[in-house]
């Protein structure tokens, strides 16, 4: 951490002039004398104030113009690290791996600065979720530490490669700690890239960051661990709250799940059905008899080609945008059409052009639920005739990821076949 984190302009100059750093305890004279500690500044704030913490624990911003005197008293090392005692494994319990990619799921707050930092040594993890200690021996590994909006298909590949390296391990399963925003994309990619993976992969996130006592991180993690240890299944799952309540966690199929709420704990929903498993008050309830992977054998295919666009059609959509995609060398377009899978007549010319350029064109629905059926109305039949592939009830985001994966792992134009073959329960039969 910088000595002047968040400070700029006049306030930074003020601190430097007075030889005061973040973390220093000072005597500040304004209208009265106060002993306080200098705290980091909130990003994008003005440069007229410095932030101090009083003994009572309260922070306030003091205007530097009103500070008559500031005297150094002492400093604390705000970067100090706590020593870690190793956790003893319990030989009778199964082993699982917790692979962290970031997000707020397994992070902790620094009570002095309020900043959230990753906390992923096994020791830290047990400190946050001591219950894990009685369910499994958890090894923790930090792959990277990114908010999920910053994750790219390159990150998906790295996660998949790392998981692939554990395909023959003695782990009973792997938890992937992940930011929730794009969790469903990563889940979909892992489902296709690691089809047939022998042990369960469970993506876990939290909607309320773990710097608060009410965080859903712990209950999601406990449920995911329990699921891995007790369910005897494989597949790629997303384990998050099933309702407002903490003892009710859903385990969704990774290709069928979507984040449907911006902030609620139970933001994730299985589209077009109920969650495959529910962990309620410690009991695992199985809602499906289907195997997640449609193939038994593990056949990793971990490449990706990002030249795929997801196009949401709307009234007034300008076909020129699709011409641009063609000109930029895009290899596949997944449409989110209206209703049963429609786009307007204005688009027919550009569709023809795309088809001539051998671009894969897939149709999903922008409705939150339901199945594409292009045989019902004339416009649907027109589009079928023009060569658009209907993708039934595959979720549009899943279709996007699948197309990237299919393009990345085939050379001979078999994308169409791969797209319509059910690999990881992306289609409900």
């Amino acid at each position: 951490m910088s000595d002047y984190r968040g400070y700029e302009g006049k306030s930074l100059e003020f601190l430097k002039q007075n030889k005061i750093k973040v973390g220093d305890t000072v005597k500040i004279t304004t209208n009265s004398d106060n002993v306080a500690t200098i705290m980091p500044r909130y990003e994008h704030s003005d440069d007229k104030h410095i932030v101090v913490k009083f003994k009572s624990g309260y922070n306030v911003g003091l205007e530097i113009n009103n500070i008559k005197k500031i005297e150094y008293i002492s400093s604390i090392d705000i970067n100090q690290k706590k020593e870690q005692s190793p956790t003893k494994p319990k030989p009778q319990l199964p082993k699982i791996l917790l692979l962290s990619t970031g997000g707020t799921i397994a992070s902790k707050v620094d009570y002095r600065t309020g900043s959230v930092t990753p906390a992923l040594s096994a020791h830290d993890l047990y400190a946050i979720v001591p219950e894990l200690d009685n369910i499994a021996n958890v090894d923790a590994e930090v792959l990277f530490s990114e908010y999920s909006e910053n994750l790219t298909p390159e990150h998906w590949k790295k996660i998949a490669e790392r998981l692939d390296s554990y395909s023959n391990s003695d782990y009973k399963g792997v938890i992937v700690a992940h930011g929730t925003d794009t969790m469903q994309y990563t889940a979909a990619f892992l489902s296709f890239a690691l089809a047939g993976f022998p042990i369960p992969i469970v993506l876990v996130g939290s909607q309320r960051s773990s710097d608060r006592p009410s965080s859903d991180a712990a209950s999601n993690l406990i449920a995911a661990t329990k699921f891995i240890v007790e369910s005897n299944t494989n597949g790629v799952f997303v384990s998050m709250h099933n309702s407002e309540s903490d003892d009710d966690i859903a385990c969704h199929f990774g290709t069928r799940v979507r984040k449907n709420h911006a902030s609620k704990r139970n933001a994730f929903e299985t589209v077009g059905g109920i969650p495959a498993f529910i962990i309620k008050q410690g009991e695992i309830i199985q809602n499906t008899k289907d195997q997640y992977f449609k193939q038994k054998q593990y056949t990793p295919k971990i490449n990706v080609d990002t030249r795929v666009a997801l196009v949401k059609y709307y009234p007034g959509y300008d076909p020129k945008l699709v011409y641009d995609l063609i000109n930029h060398g895009y290899k596949a377009i997944i449409f989110e059409g209206t209703g049963l899978g429609h786009i307007g007549k204005d688009m027919y010319d550009v569709i023809k052009k795309a088809k001539e350029t051998r671009i894969f064109l897939g149709m999903t629905s922008q409705c939150h639920d339901g199945r594409v059926n292009m045989a019902i109305y004339e416009s649907g039949r027109d589009l079928l005739h023009l060569g658009i592939t209907p993708l039934s009830d595959m979720i549009s985001e899943t279709a996007l990821v699948k197309a990237m994966w299919a393009l990345g792992n085939t050379k001979d134009g078999k994308v169409d076949d791969m797209m319509i073959t059910n690999i990881a329960s992306e289609y409900t039969e």
Partner: protein, 630 residues
């Protein structure tokens, strides 16, 4: 009070007042904090705290997090939304609440910070769904003038009120979310020396200053006083949840007595040698008590409790030593273990008792190898709790040597205090990262200054003039919970203000003094009753009966009262009075017109509320004169 010399113990009291603001919105969302009748939304949560972040000095939080009670929340969408469910980040700080806090700070001559930071104060008893209370320091310093003396202001904070506890059982704690997030202003005053009645005067003055703003909520629970009480040489004891001013005086007196008592106990302890207390002096006596006839012990054993006994050298007579009535070390220890959900303890000074027989005590003494001069404690509790409880008891006994430990206590309705938890440290506070710092502009500061309310006495004389009330009634009205209600009732001039004021200030208070529950009588009931009175649907006399029925829980609305007591028809009334006169002809003839007041009294017994007194008296007088004329 048995002989405590209050002015010689260095009593210092700091007041901390929490006042709800009447913004009709929550602090961080626009839900209206109204009390609900039913809760269609229900969900369960658990709160936890990462242990590694805790200092070893915060056993309260460690224990609270380790026992992880399931918390059940009850919500009604009219008074709470996803923000209260902790399922959505807080919205912007409510501007009205901010403005009010600035006005109050200005009225108290306090220095307002130009940049306010919202903080999270960790509270993991479930009273906040998030596990923390949002609070912000608005201003520092300043003073309150009380009878020409300046009482220093320490700080003024704006914060969220907590959820209301509905039930607390062994494994589940239930809250309603109606009140959660309601804006509160917290004003902490400098500790001052003075008698409990001086402190009461300060609280009254501060309360009046707040109410003059006309921006704060009135009514039960809308203002809460915490008091920090200390005596020289002792730690600061924070007492929470003093609801009424009368209780405040009692609580301070009780604390003065308790704290001085603890110092007297400490002096006694300093004179005796008790070996270093460690857990090695503890013996498991679960099997020893297996055949005990004590019902308390048998119940514990049925609940699979473990029973442990702790020997303490030279402690005979110490637990039960009572420097002031009701102040004993034994009682303090009992409160410590109750904090951990354990019923209590037995100590050697009170045994044999509670079904534990003399022989048992003697055998136990043998097992513990105690001599006559030694003392011992017995604690029963479940496996997961008993270790916490024993640690707490040992620490408390060690602390007893030093007199008064700093701790947080709760006021009881009887005016005493009980142990609540150890004092939390500053590490419980960290920034609310969901809300950027709040800048206070010069315009806002100006606005606050311009809107500093008039002093209390001129507010009183305004009321006096406007409603032609006398000074005493105006003051009573102003200090009551009913000023706003009074003004709204009198707004349409349909009721006589003097009558309204006296009903609000004396009738309702009298009913309350009789032990009836004033919380059942809602402002809507009172407004409705005056509305009905103004159109002669009910009589003046029936107001008291209506309130009495509502406050005793017999009826739930004014309409219900009317239905149950349909007014008498003219014919029925004639008939009733004729009967009355017939049965009392002798008296009437004997006493003449003077008999009317007696007969009036007899008639009112049966007719109260059904006929207006005025009408009854006229009719009766008429009938009596007629008889006398005959």
């Amino acid at each position: 009070m048995s002989g405590i010399e209050i002015d010689k113990i260095g009593l210092k009291v700091g007041l901390e007042i929490h006042q709800q603001l009447a913004t009709n919105k929550k602090l961080f969302c626009s839900c209206n904090p109204v009390e609900s009748e039913d809760y269609p939304v229900k969900f369960f949560r658990r709160l936890r705290l990462a242990k590694s972040e805790l200092g070893k000095y915060d056993p309260a939080a460690v224990f609270e997090s380790s026992k992880s009670k399931l918390i059940s929340y009850n919500a009604n969408p009219q008074s709470s939304c996803l923000v209260e469910y902790d399922d959505e980040p807080p919205h912007n700080l409510d501007n009205d609440a901010k403005t009010t806090s600035l006005i109050i700070a200005s009225a108290l001559h306090s220095d307002i910070f130009s940049e306010i930071h919202v903080m999270r104060k960790i509270v993991i008893d479930g009273s906040n769904t998030s596990g923390f209370q949002r609070t912000m320091l608005v201003a520092n310093g300043g003073y309150l003038e009380v009878e020409q003396k300046k009482i220093g202001v320490q700080s003024i904070c704006l914060e969220e009120d907590a959820a209301k506890l509905l039930r607390d059982t062994e494994n589940i704690r239930e809250y309603s979310l109606d009140r959660l997030g309601t804006p509160l202003v917290e004003i902490a005053l400098e500790p001052v020396e003075g008698t409990p009645s001086d402190i009461k005067k300060i609280a009254l003055t501060l309360g009046r200053l707040l109410r003059v703003t006309r921006r704060v909520t009135r009514g039960i629970g809308s203002i809460r006083q915490d008091v920090n009480v200390s005596i020289s040489g002792g730690g600061i004891v924070e007492v929470k949840g003093v609801q009424q001013l009368d209780q405040l005086e009692e609580v301070i007196m009780y604390e003065a007595k308790r704290q001085h008592g603890l110092q007297l106990i400490a002096e006694k302890l300093k004179k005796i040698q008790f070996d270093d207390l460690t857990k090695e002096n503890i013996v498991d006596v679960t099997s020893f008590f297996a055949s005990s006839k004590s019902k308390v012990i048998q119940k514990s054993l049925k609940d699979e409790a473990i029973i442990k006994a702790l020997k303490i050298k030279n402690f005979a007579g110490i637990f039960g030593y009572e420097p002031y009535q009701g102040i004993r070390l034994g009682k303090e220890l009992g409160q410590q273990v109750r904090f951990f959900g354990i019923g209590g303890i037995f100590h050697s000074d009170e045994l044999p008792n509670y079904g534990i027989e003399k022989e048992e005590v003697e055998q136990l003494r043998k097992i513990l190898k105690t001599e006559e001069s030694d003392g011992f404690l017995i604690i029963a509790g479940s496996k997961d709790k008993i270790e916490f409880a024993i640690d707490a008891v040992i620490n408390r006994i060690k602390e007893a040597k030093n007199g008064v430990p700093a701790e947080t206590r709760a006021a009881t309705p009887a005016g005493e205090t009980v142990f609540l938890r150890p004092r939390p440290g500053a590490s419980r506070m960290y920034p609310e990262t969901d809300i950027p710092p709040i800048i206070i502009s010069n315009n806002e500061l100006e606005f606050a200054k311009i809107n500093i309310p008039k002093p209390w006495d001129s507010a009183i004389s305004d009321i006096q003039t406007k409603y032609s009330l006398n000074k005493q009634l105006s003051e009573q009205l102003f200090d009551s919970d009913y000023l706003d209600l009074f003004e709204s009732i009198c707004a349409n001039k349909a009721n006589n203000p003097n009558f309204v004021a006296s009903i609000l200030c004396s009738t309702i208070t009298n009913l309350e003094r009789r032990g009836l529950d004033a919380t059942l009588l809602k402002p809507e009931h009172i407004s409705r009753s005056f509305e009905l009175l103004s159109i002669s649907k009910i009589t003046k006399e029936s107001l008291e009966m209506i309130y009495e029925s509502i406050m005793s829980g017999k009826i739930k609305s004014v309409e219900e009262f009317i239905e149950n007591s349909s007014p008498m028809s003219e014919g029925e009334l004639e008939h009733f009075l004729d009967d009355l006169i017939k049965n009392n002809l002798g008296i009437i003839k004997k006493q003449g017109n003077h008999s009317s007041s007696m007969l009036m009294g007899m008639a009112m017994k049966s007719l109260r509320g059904k006929v207006s007194g005025e009408k009854l008296s006229k009719l009766l007088e008429m009938k009596i004169s007629k008889i006398l004329e005959e």
